[in-house]
């Protein structure tokens, strides 16, 4: 019985890397929206800071929010788009018929999500420093904790979306682009959880990114690193990641049952 193979994971990463480097619009797309968002929210924050005392103290909270949101959103998108590339290329049959195991496929998509995120976000964080004096890297260990938790959530959702695409074909493509936006209002990216109605706060606290964004505000406004929030986010992420993998396995089994691996169109 063949076990997990790093060589096969590397082969898939190579496949996506060949694609990425051969296509400048794909690379531009990685940087374009994060840059536009960062500039828009940065200038808005500059304007508000000039007119409201609270935001003078909470310097960088909007830019921090938008950068962390982009890590969450782009992390999932990087995962899902690499998967979608196989469907666009009508290559999924070749992949599913090869010895590549689902866990190896997922590992390759995770690596590509990190590569795509690095290409997109590193220049944007440097621009945030140049334009607004906001140094995301200066968050140090806190940034590592935020990043790890956000990436785990993005991969869990990416895995679920990949399963839905396998089961439902390109008819489910919209989910790849929009699923994360369901979380945008609930995980309180730009405002504290306390502004939500009580019943919605329960839902918000079930989502790992909520803890990250609360933790970021605690760091930037109160200058306190909330390790407790990060640990709670990690625990929820473990559950979410396991749920994503289970859903993927069930959807893949269902795809084999209903024959949808052979009909990857709409």
């Amino acid at each position: 019985m063949m076990e997990f193979s790093v060589r096969r994971v590397a082969a898939m990463v190579r496949r996506y890397w060949y694609l990425l480097r051969s296509s400048w619009p794909r690379i531009l797309d990685l940087i374009y929206w994060p840059m536009v968002q960062m500039l828009m929210w940065g200038f808005l924050q500059t304007y508000i800071q000039q007119n409201a005392g609270f935001f003078v103290q909470a310097s960088g909270v909007f830019i921090g929010s938008v950068l962390l949101w982009d890590i969450l959103f782009r992390g999932q998108l990087g995962f899902s788009i690499s998967f979608l590339e196989e469907m666009y290329a009508r290559n999924l049959g070749n992949i599913m018929m090869s010895p590549l195991r689902p866990a190896e496929f997922i590992a390759a998509l995770v690596v590509m999500s990190l590569i795509r995120l690095a290409i997109g976000m590193i220049p944007v964080t440097l621009m945030a420093m140049a334009f607004f004096g906001f140094n995301l890297w200066g968050l140090g260990f806190a940034l590592a904790a935020f990043f790890m938790n956000l990436m785990l959530t993005s991969w869990a959702i990416g895995i679920l979306v990949a399963g839905l695409l396998l089961r439902n074909g390109l008819g489910a493509e919209t989910l790849a682009w929009t699923f994360m936006f369901l979380l945008l209002p609930l995980c309180c990216v730009y405002y504290p959880v306390s502004v939500l109605p009580d019943w919605l706060q329960w839902i918000a606290w079930m989502l790992p990114p909520t803890y990250v964004f609360e933790g970021m505000r605690a760091l930037l406004i109160d200058h306190v690193f909330r390790a407790d929030l990060m640990m709670q986010a990690l625990a929820l992420n473990v559950v979410l990641f396991a749920a994503g993998c289970t859903a993927f396995a069930l959807l893949l089994r269902s795809a084999r049952h209903y024959g949808t691996l052979l009909q990857m169109g709409e």
């Binding site: 290329a89 049959g93 070749n94």
Partner: protein
Amino acid sequence: MDATATAAISVDRLVKTYGPTTAVGGISFQLMPGTITALLGGNGAGKSTTIATIMGLLTPTSGTVRVLGAEMPRQRYRVLHRMNFQSPYVDMPMRLTVRQNLRVFGELYGVADVEGRIAELAAALDLVDILDRPAGKLSAGQKTRVSVAKALINNPEVLLLDEPTASLDPDTADWVRTHLERYCRARGATLLLASHNMGEVERLCERVIMMKRGRIVDDDTPQRLLARYGRETLEDVFLDIARGRGEARETTSP
């Protein structure tokens, strides 16, 4: 020894249904190692479903499919590195060059010397001049040759081909057939071929399994089929069966 145990591909009472629709209705056959067999039938006969089940892409509703002794799809990872396939319904990534595509698949299939194998296939399938060209820029015939190269990248013991010479001009098609035939004879590989090109089937295959509405309606050598139906070409035999002059047989083995 039991034929099922030694067969390269063994299909036993395979049924596949989608709701009320029966795609394959209880077929059985065994393919011995080193044989070349055609699976023929009109549209909706159940050929693609049968091949997809053999590849492990579909779970049977009932019955079993074994490839090189492994039950599909449950034990597929035991044998997927020893099989391969080619189909007009899948493509290779268009922006990647031929060499990059073959390299990725070589790595996926665990080929020891990928570059050496690519060089061998390029020479054998006349791909040398197009190795560094993006797959999307190739002609239909070149694409087919590249997909055949991908199907042979791991020196498979079991090869499943769906319309391998579709869209090729007669000269190139003949050339590809010759290469496939030589490969199978030299490697002792088992080849299952789905095709609508009856000349191709007569040329390559020592056995023909005819399907209609999810069932096997005949199964024999091309020569014996021609004799039994009193026809001069397999195309006429195919038309006889498609138009209802064939008799269904549940389980056959020549």
